[in-house]
Symmetry: C2
Subunit: 153 residues, 2 copies
């Protein structure tokens, strides 16, 4: 189960995507998707994962596509951490270069599927940058509604 | 593995703990701990989980206790969701009554261990309320640093 995801609903959030510049991306009402790639993740697994995330009926109601919710995709290698005693180990994670490539492929796949679904204009899709510190601010929600999944599931 | 946890570092966050009143709790720099109880969770498992969470060296540096970080504990039954087709199912979760009892026991255990560690005055410990909508606002961090664990691990 190579891809670990945490989802959180939000009413709005800002993410700093370049630590050297005061450059922030912003989404409105939608979902933050944190993602980590573990070893054995391959790019050909990504289309099915994106499809699942866009069509999943969160809280048994409606999907991102049906609700026209914004999406903020954030690389989050810490999700691959396993507890060993009092330490966290990340031996299961892909290398930084592999992770960067997979994250770029995941962004492209989200953009492709949002276009194909005809919601490219009505859904704001933003993403973080791999390997950078990414500050978040002004995050709010109507209840955190946090989910965690591993894929393929 | 009955207890599912998601942790997020924060520089500060506010949580509405009573949907009928405009009552919010607030922590500063610290950790938000979202927790869901799956079936077969028993109260006698909780002390070891709290100990692990308080002593774990996040990002291989230092623990909540060592860093004197605030803690916001949030019940989050959605973490128990499993994907079945396009739906989320929660068959693995404890009942609402059991969940409420376990959450109260978890609060008491955090308070006890923080007292025993002699940090009751220097660490702000706040918690949400079970079964309520809990709005969050003004959440910020220096990078989300999201972790997910299952216990016993």
């Amino acid at each position: 189960m190579p891809v670990t995801v945490v989802l959180q609903k939000t009413n709005g959030v800002e993410l700093q995507v370049d630590p050297d510049e005061d450059e922030w991306v912003k989404i409105g009402k939608g979902v933050i998707i944190f993602v980590a790639f573990l070893k054995d993740t391959t790019a050909d697994q990504l289309p099915a994962i994106v499809k699942k995330l866009l069509h999943l009926k969160y809280c048994e109601r409606a999907s991102i596509l049906e609700q026209r919710r914004d999406v903020l995709l954030v690389p989050q290698a810490t999700l691959g951490g396993k507890i060993k005693g009092k330490q966290l180990q990340y031996h299961g994670n892909v290398s930084k270069d592999e992770g960067r490539d997979l994250f770029m492929a995941l962004i492209a796949e989200f953009q492709k599927q949002l276009e194909e679904a005809g919601v490219g204009d009505s859904i704001t899709f933003k993403h973080g940058t791999y390997g950078n510190i990414q500050r978040m601010r002004n995050m709010s929600n109507d209840g955190p509604f946090t989910h965690t999944f591993t894929f393929p599931s």
